[in-house]
Symmetry: C2
Subunit: 430 residues, 2 copies
């Protein structure tokens, strides 16, 4: 695991924590050593793929359709692929039509195109707090103002969303969209409950809202459950984002958007301006994977592996963490969101952690407003199962030592780096 | 050849010609028929690749490095690939260092990232007139004002560039950058002469200008000549863009930017926001292609094929075109820029041309300001050699018929759709 090839612990994520470019470079240099156990990267376990099958797929694409696979394609993506992506959506109960789909360079390009389509200087977006660092990155690169809506174990707090909408109305302003990752959220590791989905859908109608439903993890539920998509509830108000990065492989850089017709048309034009067209080669590889390989079984294999890793990490956390540390309990996917006791700042702590050969992403990377100093994201999907207890143990020791230091310095009056008076802490794990 | 998979004849290109969405759809439907000879798509002849070699390359990447190839990578692109891309640049005499390079999704993403980095609402860019439709698309999508500098057979007219700079100074404004395709320009098919490159470099220093040097075609010179790059003259003022799309294959969607350090750092952050990272898989395919295959010989093979096609098209044009039609004579790459007599509008003519089973891109697609109504781009790189005379003959007959109509209607006083009084026609082929 090399941190410097880890897009989730990107320069962007660290820059928002206030680290300088040279600090980031130095940290990358140390953290890329093999003795570091990294819980930083939100990376799938690609080594769990059937490589012989993948090799046959890629060779077959060139052998049977080489000239086409190596040529330019259309901006919306191949109709053949879009049809097959509907199967992936259907596997999760998400409705769609191939005409509504745009193939993108992973989910990230989808977030970028949606941001470019809707955001101008200072436009407001409502998003879960915390939320995906790359989502913040795409929106911030178009100079959006991201306002966070706190979460708890049932996902975004819809009462607080309603308050945020009332506040906007009082300011005479509107949100361009609500950005949500309803399933096994990155980084919080929780899902939006069904009653809250229903209330969100009602609020969207009531307030004439657009909802961006980002769903990379829906098929990775440890119990095989699928919660109803927002797209199935209010299709005309939802821009839905899917990706093959977690169910097949990030290396094919294949995601997609399903959007109402007028939005889809604008997004296709923006996509052509952004990079002309998706790769025919990687599209045809995904097509052949979906058409000829047991991809549903592969997803099951991934999910079982991640469940095992989650269990090991949760057991290790129980054993190793000092009192006052809390964390979310994921029911799927990749992430645990951990809250440290007041007085410890996870941005400041990262360099020490890497020095002790364990890495994570500081919580501030997942907020646009500087909060998250008491949180960190732990990702269990990529490291070998056998190395997880070792990494958690190193982190536990570090937190024990830090807590002693804080208590020696401040006694029971430890300062809080984030919380302003009267402001609640993040509901998730807080 | 399917027009609807032709990114150069994109919806964008046609939309700027004033066609409605439904007209464009109808045209695509007809033009995708196999009996249509298309000179529209700026597509390389990927069928001239050694497919057995490509198959061995892609299979080898999965066999030897599957888990890595299918994983996420870093935002700047793989260091191994960046080193090998330097060889491609060196083959053309362009200097560089792997640290300066950013791997992009083809040249188009490079244009998008540069536009996003430098352009805000109403910012001014100076560009050749005509220029690459995708360059206009990227800049327009960030709401740039593109001002064209006319060209002649030696490329951009530097006297007129100097005039444009003086005009800007008089307005108290500055150009964010000068966008140029110095070699075998798309769509004009001409190259910037060496004395003009030297003057452009001097002007850049004098006026503190940034130059975006877009070079997809430099290695496709029919005589094997390479003109000195602007990057070699004024490296600190040039953002250089390269691509493997024309020397290997568009399907790998691999281009790159070479930029001075501070600009490179900004572009990497924007790239991460745009799509996280380039595909490890396609990067490793390009690496293996460059490291193990005779890619210089493949470029020679491509170039010989394109020279043959250019010769056939030029001979056909001599034979088939009515008096008053003129065109540029390319010394490399893909394109001929053709000017029709006054009174004919190439946007209006396209539907008739497709009805007669020949297609091109109307000249207006290559201007941001509505000019180009008397021009069209003919691309000879993709159609089979044997079909080129047939296509040119159909176009010649159509122009004969149109000219008769114009002369019957207007006599010698044919209207000009573009030229305003006192304004010179485009120098290229005009």
């Amino acid at each position: 695991m090399r941190l410097d090839t880890d897009p989730y612990l990107s320069r962007y994520a660290l820059r928002v924590t206030g680290m300088s470019a040279s600090e980031i470079r130095a940290l990358f240099a140390v953290a890329s050593r093999p003795e570091v156990v990294s819980f930083a990267g939100g990376m799938p376990a690609t080594s769990a793929l059937d490589m012989e099958a993948v090799e046959a797929v890629v060779a077959g694409v060139i052998r049977d359709h080489g000239a086409l696979a190596l040529q330019y394609g259309g901006g919306q993506g191949r109709p053949e692929l879009r049809e097959l992506l509907l199967d992936v959506m259907r596997h999760e109960g998400v409705p769609g039509h191939a005409d509504d789909l745009i193939v993108t360079v992973g989910g990230q390009q989808a977030l970028e195109l949606v941001a470019k389509c809707f955001i101008d200087d200072g436009a407001i977006v409502l998003a879960e707090g915390p939320t995906y660092v790359g989502g913040i990155g795409a929106m911030a690169s178009h100079r959006a103002e991201v306002r966070h809506v706190p979460m708890d174990d049932d996902g975004m707090d819809i009462d607080l969303l309603e308050e945020a909408l009332a506040q906007l109305a009082a300011e005479g302003r509107r949100a361009k969209y609500v950005y949500t990752i309803p399933n096994h959220q990155n980084p919080a590791g929780v899902s939006l409950s069904v009653p809250r989905r229903e209330r969100l859908a009602e609020l969207a109608v009531e307030h004439d809202l657009l909802v961006v439903e980002d769903n990379p993890y829906g098929l990775l539920d440890f119990g095989g459950r699928c919660l109803p998509s927002l797209r199935s509830m209010i299709p005309d108000r939802v821009v839905y984002i899917g990706t093959m990065s977690k169910t097949f492989a990030p290396g094919v850089r294949t995601g997609w958007i399903a959007a109402p017709g007028p939005i889809r048309d604008k997004l296709v034009l923006l996509r052509e301006a952004a990079d002309l067209c998706p790769s025919n080669l990687t599209q045809m590889i995904v097509e052949r994977w979906l058409a000829t390989q047991p991809w549903r079984e592969q997803i099951k294999r991934f999910t079982e592996l991640y469940r095992e890793k989650a269990d090991v990490m949760l057991a290790s956390l129980e054993q190793e963490m000092p009192p006052g540390v809390s964390w979310t309990v994921p029911a799927g996917a990749f992430y645990i969101w951990l809250t440290v006791p007041a007085g410890i700042d996870t941005s400041d702590l990262l360099a020490k952690a890497v020095g002790r050969r364990v890495a994570y992403v500081p919580g501030r990377g997942f907020y646009a407003d500087g909060s998250g100093g008491e949180q960190m994201r732990l990702c269990f999907s990529y490291p070998e199962v056998s190395r997880i207890p070792e990494g958690v143990s190193r982190l536990g020791e570090l937190l024990h030592d830090e807590l002693e230091l804080v208590q020696a310095l401040f006694g029971d009056h430890a300062p809080s780096p984030d919380r302003r008076p009267g402001e609640p802490a993040s509901g998730v794990g807080g």
